[in-house]
């Protein structure tokens, strides 16, 4: 009888040595004549413990981490294959507080199963939602999704059911399902984890969407910065096709669905849905005017559902357990759970799936354990490069779409990046403008020109040149970008800039203060 040891095959785990650890265990087992079977899972999302290996014992899976190849010998000496005591031992994985306190619906299988095993997936409830959907009409599926209160997880938080109804009711054919896997926001990695750790859930979600609106072709547009996710997802699609879930007849239903992966090419703007569609059509990723809505005239001018990875991956459980089950999580108009991503200067970074409504402070301290450097957390950027910088006094804001809007912030795709007190917020504001200038598609003037002018104006403010005049100019420029841009890139770049200016004004007058002194 061999002992099973799970070692994550996940970009982050591998980036800190998971492959070397896997090889080390294999070699050491051979040397000692121990029978070990190494299996590859996704990451549990406890990233500060990666590479986190798990040993299957009669008492459940026992976690050890963060492991390095140099620890392998001592792990064997400590009889880790029987769950033995070791300085890196954390006990049963499920009891690690960071994980035990989560509400994992979308990420229920994350790190538990082999992402490329249909058998594992089905054994953990996979394809149950699809079977439910196959027994329903398109209208009924759309109603379930509407009733669940699910809103788009990519960042815009548009009600998914309403988008789908528009596509369902559109007369034109064919219709398309497009998955936006262009997860470009710094501080976010839940899409990557989903595709690497449980890609079949994404495939199942897209199948459900196809059944709901009557589409038979789907595309996953994945960013080129995620080569491993692309490989695993592509393999999962092949597996699902061989198993009869994708193809001419979904699970023998007579209804067909084909799925194809398309790789982006390093353009942040292609995370904007209309630019993404242009890119899928083989063009420059230029933002389109809306209307027409992609739901009516999307990919190749046809009705198209465009949703984020996590939106699709949330569907199987909604169909499996019903709209009410999902809706019962959350607060206000933010229903269900969101896989929040704790990143940056944080002691315990990783993935926290919780119902909406917990506060930023709980996330940062109860889960995150404060900053990685041990210094005070001074600012937090929530929602990616277009999200506001929030100061400590706003840490009690509940994570809810509307509550964040009230403090001029946004939850977006759920990324939370912490900065300690060494951060220079004027530098971060400048970076926000610089990023916009680098990534602008160039279609509208406020974004294309405004971002470059923004960098220049911030430089002048920091250099204490005509301070007051330039501050007014920056405010005015931000107003123009906010109201005059075609899409969220130019339209929301002012959020990090203005929030930095509002909450951390002292960082913009360091030189002026020195001169005054």
């Amino acid at each position: 009888m061999s002992t099973t040891v799970w070692v994550p095959r996940d970009t982050s785990a591998i980036s800190v040595g998971a492959e070397d650890v896997a090889r080390g265990i294999q070699a050491e087992a051979q040397r000692r004549g121990e029978a070990v079977r190494i299996r590859r899972n996704g990451s549990r999302g406890l990233y500060w413990l990666e590479p986190l290996i798990e040993v299957e014992t009669p008492a459940g899976r026992i976690a050890y981490g963060p492991t390095a190849p140099g620890d392998v010998g001592s792990l064997f000496d400590a009889e880790f294959l029987a769950g033995g005591a070791h300085v890196l031992r954390h006990g049963p994985t499920e009891t690690i507080p960071f994980l035990a306190r989560q509400e994992r619906l979308c990420f229920a299988r994350m790190g538990v199963i082999d992402p490329l095993s249909i058998e594992d997936y089905v054994a953990h409830g996979g394809f149950t939602g699809l079977r439910t959907a196959l027994a329903m009409s398109g209208t009924q599926i759309v109603q379930q999704v509407t009733d669940s209160g699910l809103r788009g997880r990519g960042g815009a938080a548009f009600p998914t059911g309403i988008k789908w109804k528009t596509v369902l009711d559109a007369p034109a054919t064919p219709k398309y399902i497009v998955c936006n896997a262009d997860e470009g926001d710094s501080g976010t990695f839940s899409d990557r984890m989903q595709m690497e750790g449980d890609p079949l859930a994404l495939i199942e979600g897209m199948l459900i969407a196809g059944l709901a609106v009557g589409a038979e072709q789907g595309y996953v547009y994945i960013r080129s910065e995620y080569p491993l996710a692309e490989r695993i997802l592509t393999e999962a699609i092949e597996l699902a096709t061989r198993a009869g879930y994708l193809g001419e007849s979904i699970a023998g239903s007579g209804k067909g669905f084909l799925l194809e992966v398309r790789r982006g090419a390093g353009a942040y703007i292609c995370g904007e849905e209309t630019a993404l569609l242009e890119s899928l059509e083989g063009k420059r990723g230029m933002v389109r005017y809306k209307p027409p809505l992609p739901a009516l005239q999307g990919l190749f001018g046809k009705p198209t559902v465009v949703n984020n990875v996590i939106t699709f991956a949330s569907l199987p459980i909604i169909l499996e357990k019903g709209a009410a089950f999902y809706r019962d999580y959350g607060m206000g108009r933010s229903r269900g759970t969101l896989p929040f991503q704790l990143a940056g200067n944080i002691k315990r970074g990783g993935l926290v799936e919780k119902a909406f409504g917990l506060t930023l402070r709980e996330l940062l301290y109860d889960y995150g354990g404060g900053s990685a450097t041990g210094r005070p957390i001074r600012a937090v950027q929530v929602g990616g490069p277009l999200g506001a910088f929030l100061p400590e006094k706003l840490f009690d804001t509940p994570l809810d779409y509307e509550a964040f809007a009230q403090v001029d912030g946004m939850i977006g795709h759920g990324g939370v990046v912490a900065f300690d007190d060494t951060v220079d917020m004027a530098h971060m504001a400048r970076y926000a403008m610089e990023f916009c200038a680098i990534e602008s598609c160039g279609k509208c003037t406020p974004c294309r020109i405004g971002s470059t002018r923004g960098v220049e104006v911030i430089d002048r403010i920091v250099a204490d040149e005509s301070r007051d005049k330039n501050l007014t100019l920056l405010q005015d420029l931000c107003e123009t970008m906010l109201h005059g841009s075609l899409c969220a890139l130019g339209g929301m770049t002012p959020f990090p800039v203005l929030s930095a200016l509002k909450h951390f004004p002292e960082d913009f007058r360091k030189l002026a203060s020195r001169r005054a002194a």
């Binding site: 800190v16 997860e183 990695f189 491993l228 090419a265 390093g266 970074g349 950027q381 990046v417």
Partner: protein
Amino acid sequence: MHCFAYVEVNLPGVEQEQRVNDGGRSAAESGTLSGAQQEAVERAIALHQPRPGALLPLLHAIQDVLGFVPPAALSRIAQALNLSRAEVHGVVGFYHDFRTHAPGRRVLRLCRGEACQSMGAERLADLAQRILGIALGGTSGDGAVTLEPVYCLGNCACAPAAMLDGQVHGRLNEATLRALLQGAGETL
């Protein structure tokens, strides 16, 4: 729709600029494709031509093999996809990923995203530029390493991060970055 399909749109200025950029490293950039390059281009066309919206997959297929998209291939790609050469040129120029000249033998991409910045990525980028004596976007004099910025690798909980030839490295510090650069040099 494509009124100018099959019409060669000559942009002499652009061609010249590319010639200046490549430093004369390969024949492809001076106007003709080598046998191997031609083969890669034709194979990519054969594989992707029938797909709807084929241009990006096709360009990726070429760059995956050659490391860049030779400007001399644009006319052939345009013809195969019933596009104008200007349209293909526009797409190649729009996306950060596509290169029009050969990169160094190894490509090191340093993340500049906010999460990596919060853990000192800017200092590491300065260090890498100092060690190699080049700016982000440049290639070291011996052609060993191309240094590029990248905006998020999805490794934000193990910041700062970098990618060396498609392999992501996390929790970088000065010592591990130096080791990466050294490794990149040694495998030449």
